[in-house]
């Protein structure tokens, strides 16, 4: 009887989870989605707690209280740190799955007839996915947080892919051995865990910042799949459904990210970025034209259509509030200001949207790349703030460029372009940006926050006059 009640509660919980994602289709209904998710989770936890035979309440309450103590501060991080938090939370998800799989295996080892082939396959999948997500996500979080002893730049060495795939291969072969004979080969089990942990680290080491959105999405998918595997191990449909929802969400985001960079999964995971171009030295030194903030402000005053292209540099310089002031000033003058968001701008999917929303820019003004490109020739001024590769016209024209074929925001097609940049150093990927040398491009050198601050000052001074 109680078992049926739990199952029905699980069905209700699944339905609520689906609605939760469904309501994310529109910012207007999105908060409803969060409440549906919380309700679903509450139903799931309460009905599970009803299961007969649960006795260790002290352990449960300690773990839950600790979860709140750590979880609440983690939800208060500044929004620029959201990618790190997300990666960290993938790590927690992977850890939970890996630990439950391990515990179940050793528990069933005492009654080996329980270790059926199906269960063993599920357990091996769960621990490999879980533990590689754990260390992989920790590495990603460390890179994003710029922890000192974790290299930011992609680390590559000869035979890297062979070593990585070899390690995974050994883990899988070991897994098959344990699946075939779970009791006799029990000693291999910890080895598989160790290999999965190591593989997670090695998988993320060659990944650089620009690829982070894809990798985070991929790890998101893995965390979901490890929950699915846990569902198979524990014969629990709710784990399977909720895990599958997460897994498919991660998959779709990864596909969107890969497409936005015109790269394949294998290329992101196994081809470290930015190595190709290093040798392309000795190109003729070209000079970019420079503009002062006074001059730029005067041009902005004459404009009627302005597009701002934000990138990760905006997040680093914390320039979003100044951009908001600029937006207000220009809007007051009747200028139409839009923001062109490239899918891979920032360090995780949708990163720029959240930062601009935090600065209280209405979301109608945030426009996707595909929707803004056709309007570009009519745009009077494009301001590039901390974006680089996503506006590089080489992606359209230069076949030798590593980013060739990547869809970009056509900033060079606007009537005029201002690029705010600290210096002429090439960006993350080490690729020279053709845009900076274009005829209609003018550079505004300096820290993004300071430069936009000056623009705001100039504009408001002339407005007051």
């Amino acid at each position: 009887m109680i078992y049926s009640i739990i199952q029905i509660a699980y069905i209700l919980s699944t339905a609520l989870f689906i609605f939760s994602l469904h309501w994310m289709k529109d910012p207007k209904t999105a908060r409803q989605g969060v409440f549906a998710g919380i309700a679903a989770m509450a139903v799931a936890i309460i009905s599970t707690a009803l299961e007969p035979g649960i006795v260790n309440w002290e352990w449960i309450s300690v773990a839950i209280v600790l979860g709140f103590i750590v979880g609440v501060p983690l939800s208060k991080v500044p929004l620029t740190a959201v990618p790190q938090r997300t990666a960290l939370s993938h790590a927690f998800g992977g850890l939970a799955a890996g630990l439950v799989g391990t515990a179940k295996y050793y528990l069933w080892l005492e009654t080996p007839q329980e270790l059926t082939i199906f269960r063993m396959v599920a357990i091996i999948a769960e621990i490999i996915l879980g533990f590689l997500t754990f260390t992989g996500s920790l590495m990603a979080a460390g890179k994003l947080q710029e922890i000192k002893w974790i290299p930011q730049r992609p680390v590559t060495y000869r035979g890297q892919n062979i070593i990585n795939l070899g390690l995974l291969g050994i883990a899988v072969i070991g897994g098959i051995a344990v699946i075939v004979n779970p009791v006799q080969y029990a000693f291999i089990f910890p080895v598989i865990i160790a290999l999965a942990l190591l593989f997670g680290v090695l998988l993320v080491i060659p990944i650089g910042g620009a690829d982070m959105p894809t990798v985070i999405s991929l790890l998101n998918s893995y965390a979901g799949l490890s929950a699915v595997a846990m569902g198979f191990v524990l014969d629990n449909k709710l784990l399977v459904t909720a895990g599958a929802l997460d897994g498919s969400s991660g998959l779709i985001l990864s596909i969107i990210m890969c497409k936005a960079m015109n790269r394949s999964f294998t290329n992101v995971l196994f081809g470290a970025f930015g190595q190709v171009q290093a040798a392309k030295a000795g190109a003729e030194t070209r000079t970019a034209k420079q503009e002062t903030s006074e001059g730029a402000a005067q041009i902005l005053e004459q404009a009627s259509k302005v597009v701002i292209v934000p990138g990760y540099g905006m997040a680093v310089a914390q320039a979003q509030y100044r951009i908001r002031e600029l937006y207000d000033l220009l809007t007051k003058q009747g200028v139409d200001v839009k923001f062109a968001i490239h899918p891979v701008a920032g360090r995780m999917p949708g990163h720029m949207n959240v930062l601009l929303a935090e600065a209280k820019i209405p979301y109608e003004q945030l426009v996707e790349m595909d929707d803004i490109n056709s309007d570009m020739p009519q745009v009077d001024v494009v301001i590039v703030v901390g974006a680089n590769d996503v506006v590089n016209p080489a992606a359209r024209s230069d076949k030798t460029s590593p980013i060739y074929g990547m869809p970009i925001i056509d900033a060079d097609k606007a009537k005029m372009c201002f690029a705010i940049k600290r210096s002429m150093n090439p960006g993350f990927a080490g690729i020279e940006n053709e845009l900076y040398f274009a005829e209609r491009t003018f550079m505004l050198f300096g820290d993004a926050k300071a430069v936009i601050g000056e623009l705001v000052k100039e504009l408001s001074a002339s407005q007051a006059a």
Binding site: A44, S248, V354
Partner: protein
């Protein structure tokens, strides 16, 4: 993958409703066999996995691109459904080391639930349209 995606975009409503319906039917139809704990119905589990993946793909393709960061923290919280497994593992009478492993897993999942839902809501509150700003 392109073909799949455009198919979902065109057919999404009917598809989601049908799949959802099938999904519930299958869940009820196979619920019987779960009564006996000894032999789980693997086919039913695989069925549920397949259908849930399709529903997930259908629902997530329609999520607003503006909201991809909140989407990821929301699905983070949702995948912390591992809390269910950790809760059972921690709660039941087991050797101590199993309970400890379970408790760590429970702690990790709880952290994800709490921080995931809170930060998603915090971010979504910031997404304001022009009209709502004036009021």
């Amino acid at each position: 993958m392109n073909v799949l995606k455009s198919f979902f975009l065109r057919q999404n409503k009917i598809l989601i409703i049908t799949l959802g319906y099938l999904f519930f039917i299958s869940d009820f139809a196979f619920a019987e066999s779960e009564g006996a704990h000894s032999e789980p119905d693997y086919i039913a589990l695989l069925f549920v996995f397949m259908l849930a993946t399709f529903i997930g793909l259908g629902v997530v393709t329609r999520v607003s691109r503006l909201l991809h960061t909140p989407l990821m923290s929301l699905t983070n919280a949702i995948s912390a459904i591992a809390v269910v497994g950790s809760l059972i593992l921690t709660g039941k009478e087991h050797p101590d080391y199993i309970t400890i492993l379970g408790a760590i897993a429970l702690f990790a999942s709880m952290t994800n639930i709490v921080s995931g839902f809170l930060i998603t809501d915090r971010m979504l509150k910031m997404f304001k349209s022009k009209e709502s700003k004036k009021s």
